[in-house]
Symmetry: C2
Subunit: 231 residues, 2 copies
């Protein structure tokens, strides 16, 4: 085992990559930015930044999210860390990936202070990305899918009021398989949803009832009984 000076270790930086997932037109999409500087100029990339010396990782992720979207108080999930010594051409940078789910419509206008161009890309059609971002993206999408199975996080992507079909289509897209309507509805019977009187408008067929996720009821349920969300 070779010995190196203690101070020789303090020569790395770390960054946070902050993946945003949203849902529109029946597809789960990830927000990508087009880099406007070297290295990887003009490549699509996951939004991220170096972590400041006095920042905790979560803080950095929240900062990036805020810069990017104007949103705060969004549930952030830490995904994985990546640390290949050569992953960044300018030095040793270990990155920690986070992801969050947002309603794309909530802030479509903003997001300009960051990069020249941003784009919401369906997670099944991710292009070649800068750095090792394809690896990070793939890993994080897998984690997202895992969490979709055991936590009711999809409601952060859906509009506040959604139809049961929209809800179902989200899962169909995520797991790339079609589901039986009737059975889906039975399966979600245990999820506390609030049925509104309001109905879909402007559709050329029988309009669907609108629902929203009853977050508080859900929390109570989890605390009270030994309930585990499962899809």
């Amino acid at each position: 085992m070779y010995r190196i000076n203690f101070s020789d270790f303090f020569t790395s930086a770390f960054s946070v990559d902050c993946m945003l997932f949203g849902y529109s037109q029946g597809q789960i999409k990830a927000l990508l930015i087009k880099r406007a500087m070297e290295p990887y100029n003009n490549f699509w990339a996951i939004p991220g930044d170096l972590v400041y010396p006095d920042e905790d990782l979560d803080e950095a992720a929240n900062r990036i999210l805020k810069d990017l979207t104007g949103l705060s108080d969004v549930g952030l999930h830490q995904a994985q860390s990546f640390g290949h010594p050569k992953r960044h051409p300018q030095g040793r940078v270990v990155t920690v990936s986070y992801f969050a789910m947002v309603r794309i419509e909530d802030f479509n206008a903003k997001a300009s202070s960051w990069a020249d161009e941003i784009s919401w890309v369906p997670i099944h059609d991710i292009p070649v990305l800068a750095f090792d971002h394809n690896l990070i993206m793939a890993t994080t999408i897998e984690l997202l899918k895992q969490k979709l199975r055991v936590e009711p996080i999809c409601f952060d992507m859906l509009p506040d009021r959604f139809t049961l079909s929209e809800f179902q289509q989200l899962y169909e897209y995520a797991f790339n398989q079609s589901l039986d309507k009737a059975n889906f509805r039975k399966k979600i019977k245990h999820i506390p949803l609030l049925a509104h009187d309001e109905k879909q408008k402007m559709v050329k067929h029988r309009p669907a009832k609108l629902f929203s996720f009853a977050k508080e009821d859900y929390k109570t349920k989890v605390e009270t009984i030994d309930y585990q969300f499962k899809m």
Copy 2:
């Protein structure tokens, strides 16, 4: 947004903390070491080390595991990263936690090159640890439990040949609830186990049959049919 020099970021270090879980006497245990240097001299801690400048994170975790136990080729799982600016008194050190499962008996003798003292501590009785290791430990144990539900990783902790009751007791301890024997056996019917002719010895009651996990059959099953391990 304040601007700092690019090079000012390259002043941090990374460490990897490598949690080992094993199973003995009906309890899941974590390996702790007693620190023999400042800071936190004499505190119990999770084994870990700084990551070398040319090492990937996984490599570092494997190195630590090897130093500690002599074992290589052990499945390592990345857990979470922790980066509070003040978590290490001697500088900014972000740590990535990993965990692995081992058979405690396999290497009891070794493990001396590391620290003065090591100890296998039941995960339900973790003492006060150095640094933020209690947070890391708690988070990682939760992740372990999550994985126990969806991956057949418990067999890395069980002896090569185990009884169904031992298997059951592992889950009972992990989730702190007792299970019905008959129903447990029905539930695990889908897990490919190899039944041996051999039986338990030296027990003062009807000896149980010994089983081992049929890893290859499991892999084939996963590849062939759309099978998801679930407990």
